[in-house]
């Protein structure tokens, strides 16, 4: 009788270890996947920016400083590696772009230009996608970090070679304060 109980306990234990281990590995893969998703969107953003700068250059010739700042920030962001580094470089790029968009508001011929509008919609969407991908990454990474640090999954964390994933923090207070900008000025939010 007691042998059967012992057997049941062992089986349950083994099943639990398998489940917890698989759960951790699945989360780990989700974290990696979410990071890849960010990467895809960042790459797209880097590809779009030269197009935008070339399109608006003619009309905004005397805003050379702003345009160059965008290009410089973009080149820096392309070269960045690692979570912290990337986060900082992309934050700077977001701000440079924000200044550029704010300036385009002053140019009626740009606001009427179909090409510029389309590029702006693309960039808005890409910005949002970067934001949402980051949000998903942080959500999943937090979940992963909590799971591996709390009892009882803590016990199999070593087995799954789990180590805390770095969160994408928004370091710059200015960026945190600025709400998401709606750049599609054809339909004002009410």
């Amino acid at each position: 009788m007691s042998a059967i109980i012992l057997l049941v306990v062992i089986v349950v234990l083994v099943l639990w270890i398998i489940g917890a281990y698989n759960g951790l590995i699945a989360l780990k893969n989700q974290v990696l996947n979410a990071w890849k998703q960010i990467d895809v969107q960042l790459k797209r953003r880097h590809d779009l920016i030269p197009n935008l700068v070339n399109t608006v250059r003619g009309a905004m010739d005397f805003e050379r400083g702003t345009l160059e700042a965008v290009i410089a920030a973009r080149n820096k962001a392309v070269g960045a590696t690692g979570v912290k580094d990337t986060a900082r470089a992309e934050g700077e790029l977001t701000q440079a772009l924000g200044r550029l968009f704010a300036l385009t508001e002053a140019y009626p011929e740009l606001k009427a230009n179909q090409n510029v509008l389309q590029l702006q919609e693309e960039l808005t969407s890409t910005e949002n996608k970067v934001g949402f991908a980051r949000q998903l990454y942080n959500d999943v990474a937090t979940q992963y970090n909590t799971k591996q640090a709390t009892f009882p999954t803590l016990l199999v964390a070593g087995l799954a070679k789990a180590s805390p994933a770095e969160l994408w923090e928004i370091e710059d207070v200015a960026e945190r304060a600025v709400p998401k900008v709606d750049l599609s000025f054809n339909k004002p939010a009410q």
């Binding site: 919609e121 808005t124 969407s125 949002n128 949000q135 945190r176 939010a189």
Partner: protein
Amino acid sequence: MSDDANLFAQQEANRRRSNWLVVGFIIFFAWVGFGGDLALGLLTADAPPDGYHHVIPFIGLVGTLSAAAICWYAWRHGAERVLWSTGAWEIIEPITPEQKQLVNVVEEMAIASGLPKPRVYVVPDDDPNAFATGRDERNASIAVTQGLLTALSRDELQGVIAHEMAHVRNLDVRLMTLLAGMVGAIALMSDGMGRMMRVGGRGGLRLGGRGGSGGGGGKGGNPLGIIVLVFWLLTLVVAPVVSRILAMSVSRKREFLADATAAQFTRNPMALASALEKLASATAATRSITSGAAHLCIVDPSPSLLSSREGFLADVLASHPPIRQRIIKLEGMSYQQAKRTAAAS
């Protein structure tokens, strides 16, 4: 993000409540299906060995099978039928800036929810509305009306799409298909039993009588069996209405849940609130969306005075909660968010 605990708490509460409702619904279905078998089983338990013993629960089995058949049919053909009946067409290659924006917003929400991108449809209808369909995340479709595209700003559109993506992620299509199957089966059973009562009322009585006399001359046989039988017959009369009320209350809980999940995706509950405000002011019915897909829409497509009004009737029979209540909850979420942001900086 740890500072959005309120959103997750809201979702948790909604999920728990709708789980309880579903459990209640299944128990109710089991009683409607197998209660009669229980009564007959009790009535014939004392019958002589050569008499009839109701051992196999035929009534319950027939009910369960018909529910399964209805579900299976809806499962296989539901999504196409709903899309087809609304006359929706799929955006494969966006042409106008409007369509491009819609596709972009859907892609954004797919990223935010971590799901594969659903297919995007446009319904040629001027009333603003939107719905999601498809049996799982991989086969999901989101359809919006032309009126929605023209009426909403980009952020508001994002809120609405987030609500639909939330329906997809929470597997509401699956849940509501299951509930609709059970509601249908209960209606069939109630109808069928009613007919049998009227046509063969005597037959039913005779069955009871035989059970009683066979049981050794007691008066009326097993009293517990008769009580169960009477109670079961009474439930059967009200079952269609009760099952509908239960299904609709699950639907309303899922709407609140989808709103909270949408707020989690966009972190911008006010955009959805202002979209709902606009949808509420468009009082015309969305004619191209039939009631079959009503529970998947962002707002009730046929506001038969129910979803706009609060009160008892609106509380029990509407597929959607009153829009006012939804907006108030979203505003609450936004307020919490603002408070946290203010505290953080």
